[in-house]
Subunit: 261 residues, 2 copies
């Protein structure tokens, strides 16, 4: 059974891409087959794996708006035998407007994934979808395509504000279009143990979502933010650094948590 | 003459709200009349000044979609005699879809500001517009309403990626709808001098935009991120902290830079 996980949070800069990239890399390094779909017009997840995503390269735009198949647009991530990436080009910025007039506009991603799963014998163990920082048609497509949600929460004050809005959207999607969508996990990110603020935010989130918050907390660690400038995940950039160890542990915990269901 | 400054960058979490709030507060504490318009459905700028913005309170949604006047929706920020805020409620999330069918949908904000300036004797010295992390109709309204842009850039690798896209959008707006729009200033934020990455990014930005990058750099400083949880700007929360002194200096530099034109 393929686990389809959407990484979403409309608050900007909370670690969505960093989480999608490093969790995906950790699972693939552990031998699981992973597909990463970059749904953010900024294309940060594509950059993180050094996957070409300039205007000439087909990617998520062609998938959603032109009906291309996943097989036609995916690329193998260099150095990762079990990790494929559907890249996001700059043209994806126009997708939300182009999608508005199409039939089944919210189901385009789900339909593409369903077609792939039906046609291909070899299945992915994980499909991970990185979202932009908004609640528009791109993120809606991801919420409808997924069976679970991974929500990164930065240990900062503003990060709490948007959570109620996100929870509302999730229950709307669950009631209307995707009954299996649920919060699979919440990951606390950029935790700086020296500040009271970080502890306060972490405690607040844990008290509201005791079952969803992963025990592993990702520390603020400079090696994590350096890795993308080398086109690597932090796992290959500096495997024994605190950030890499935390993402390895988070991936293992997420994998275990899913098996228990 | 009222300076209308849009604070924009589609990359998430780079310090747009923190910059809009603290530059606005610094100018108002210096005796200048400031209007802050919150164009982000997350409503973080409204929260930062403890301005009510729940569903029952009129704000930016009514301004853009229902044709309300600025005078009807603005609120005075507590403790700031010269600072008014147009708050953003959760309903603003629906504005991009509701705007699509309206005539002059990209000019709604500009029209509202023009009407206010024509009708009122007492003018604002500054109008500052905080944008969401996307390049949709809300940010487009802000780009068309403004005469200059203030771009916060986080000293991180991904922050550079989105810059080319933003510059492209700005030149499209300048060519088609708002010829006076230009980059008034670029502000480097969350600079951590201990990391090579921060220095590399700062040097890259300075070499590409030598005239626009402000000399003042905002350090990463925990007091800056604590202030919003007390509904204050960092200037009133901890006036002598490194973050507050940096924002005071940035506001003074921005004000001087405008006068030299
Ligand atoms: N644990 C960490 N330690 C240090 N830096 C981090 C960490 N996680 C992420 N970062 C850095 O913080 C910034 C924001 O992270 P990231 O881009 O992954 O967030 P995002 O939610 O995907 O942003 P957006 O909303 O723009 O999509 C990036 O520059 C990233 O390198
Ligand atoms: N100089 C700083 N030092 C420490 N923390 C900061 C600094 N500037 C901003 N922050 C914190 O970083 C986070 C991101 O900043 P902010 O929310 O202002 O960015 P933004 O660009 O407005 O985000 P969004 O894209 O979601 O609108 C916030 O939690 C904020 O408190
Ligand atoms: Mg991202
Ligand atoms: Mg903001």
């Amino acid at each position: 059974n393929t686990r389809i996980i959407t990484v979403a949070n409309q608050k900007g800069g909370v670690g969505k891409t960093t989480t999608a990239v490093n969790i995906g890399a950790a699972l693939a390094m552990g031998g699981l087959k992973v597909l990463l779909i970059d749904l953010d017009p900024q294309g940060n997840a594509s950059t993180a794996f050094n996957v070409a995503h300039d205007e000439a390269v087909p990617g998520t735009y062609e998938l959603l708006v032109e009906g291309a198949t996943i097989a036609a647009v995916r690329q193998r991530a260099e150095g990762y035998p079990y990790l494929d990436v559907v890249p996001a080009g700059v043209d994806l910025a126009g997708a939300e407007i182009d999608l508005v007039e199409l039939e089944r506009r919210e189901f385009k991603l789900r339909d593409a994934i369903t077609t792939m799963i039906e046609r291909e014998n070899e299945k992915y163990d994980y499909i991970i979808i990185d979202c932009p920082p908004s609640l528009g048609l791109l993120t809606l497509n991801a919420l409808i395509a997924a069976n679970e949600l991974l929500i990164p929460i930065q240990c900062e004050y503003y990060a709490l504000e948007g959570l109620t809005q996100l929870i509302k959207i999730i229950s709307l999607v669950t009631e209307n279009t995707n009954p299996q969508l649920h919060i699979g996990a919440i990951l606390l990110t950029m935790f700086d143990g020296r500040t009271r603020l970080a502890h306060d935010v972490a405690n607040t989130v844990r008290s509201h979502f005791p079952n969803e918050v992963l025990t592993t907390v990702i520390p603020r660690a400079v090696r994590v933010s350096e890795a993308p400038s080398y086109g690597q995940s932090v796992l290959t950039y500096d495997m024994s650094s605190p950030g890499a160890l935390a993402y390895l542990s988070a991936a293992r915990e997420l994998h275990e948590k899913g098996r228990m269901k």
